[in-house]
């Protein structure tokens, strides 16, 4: 699997995700600067976490307008898979690749902590190594991860199986206790209609080694390798 990781001014988890990809594929992904409207062909595009453009104005707003994102939109339309994590999720929603938006956490504070996620479906490139209903533990680290969409959009997402992950309690119960940021319906990650674009707030790339935060996130990358190689 050939992967490209985008780098914006202010990105800061690009190294983490590159490390995770290298761990499962044995090769370093291509790092793509925000000004590059034209980068090498790849099997997967990753929009990483961080504070692109300082997260000023609105998280992801300025990055969404960069030359590289114009190209990402083009390739996503052609079906190239896009994995968007944390600030990446904010960027792709601003760019219109995924519905909804990420607002300030309900408690207004930055939160860095392990959370539990319920995998909603195994029927996707990104989740094929998990079982539907499985509970995994990965960290979050954000101040604006409070997913919001209007009722029509939410209904459409639910009806079409476009919810990827929901925050839950360790036993899998989806209720307020496991929700770190106030996200509507505990949504932690969503797909586009074709399930080729996935955005999520948690950091599977920081859960790929048992000694460093557990390894529940590793299957996501392994699943991608399996699907895309």
């Amino acid at each position: 699997m050939k992967a490209a990781v985008l780098v914006f001014p202010g990105s800061n988890r690009e190294g983490d995700v590159a490390q995770a990809i290298e761990l499962v594929t044995g090769r370093k992904p291509q790092m793509v600067w925000h000004g590059d409207g034209d980068f090498e062909k790849t099997d997967l595009i990753v929009v990483p976490g961080g504070f692109s453009y300082g997260d000023y104005l609105r998280c992801g707003a300025m990055a969404a307008l960069s030359p590289v994102m114009a190209e990402v939109k083009k390739r996503a339309a052609q079906g190239v898979p896009v994995l968007a994590i944390c600030n990446g999720f904010q960027i792709v929603t601003e760019a219109g690749l995924l519905p909804g938006t990420l607002m300030r956490n309900a408690h207004l504070k930055f939160v860095c902590s392990d959370v539990h996620l319920k995998v909603e479906t195994s029927q996707s490139l990104f989740t094929n190594r998990y079982q539907a209903g499985q509970v995994i533990r990965v960290p979050v680290a954000h101040a604006e991860g409070n997913y919001f969409a209007d009722q029509d959009t939410l209904k459409r997402l639910e009806d079409r199986g476009q919810i990827a992950f929901r925050y839950c309690a360790p036993d899998g119960t989806v209720d307020g206790t496991g929700n770190p940021n106030g996200s509507i319906r505990n949504i932690a990650g969503v797909f586009n209609e074709t399930k080729t674009v996935m955005g999520l707030m948690p950091h599977p790339e920081n859960a790929v080694e048992p000694m460093f935060g557990g390894s529940d996130g590793k299957a996501l990358f392994e699943g991608l390798v399996e699907a895309l190689t």
């Binding site: 607002m103 408690h107 209007d150």
Partner: protein, 80 residues
């Protein structure tokens, strides 16, 4: 020319920041405070003398960058 842009959340969109400010004010001894909404206020210097043109350009800036029209409204005001 100077312009002032207000960006506010649309009705019906939850405003966690506004809510938290309201709560805090209530707790700090301002029980008379009801609903609170927080928006952005952006002041721009423009190198443009034609008012109509400036307005059209500002409108474009708002739609492109300053506001997320899925959840936000904006209003433009020209000063001086």
């Amino acid at each position: 020319m100077k312009a002032r842009v207000h960006v506010t959340l649309k009705n019906g969109v939850l405003d966690p920041q506004g809510k938290a400010i309201g709560h805090s004010l209530n707790r700090l001894g301002f029980p008379e405070v009801g609903d609170v909404r927080q928006g952005k206020f952006i002041e721009l210097e423009l190198d443009e003398t034609d008012k109509a043109k400036a307005k059209a350009r500002l409108d474009e800036m708002c739609r492109k960058l300053l506001a997320n029209t899925v959840i936000e409204n904006y209003s433009i005001e020209l000063v001086g």
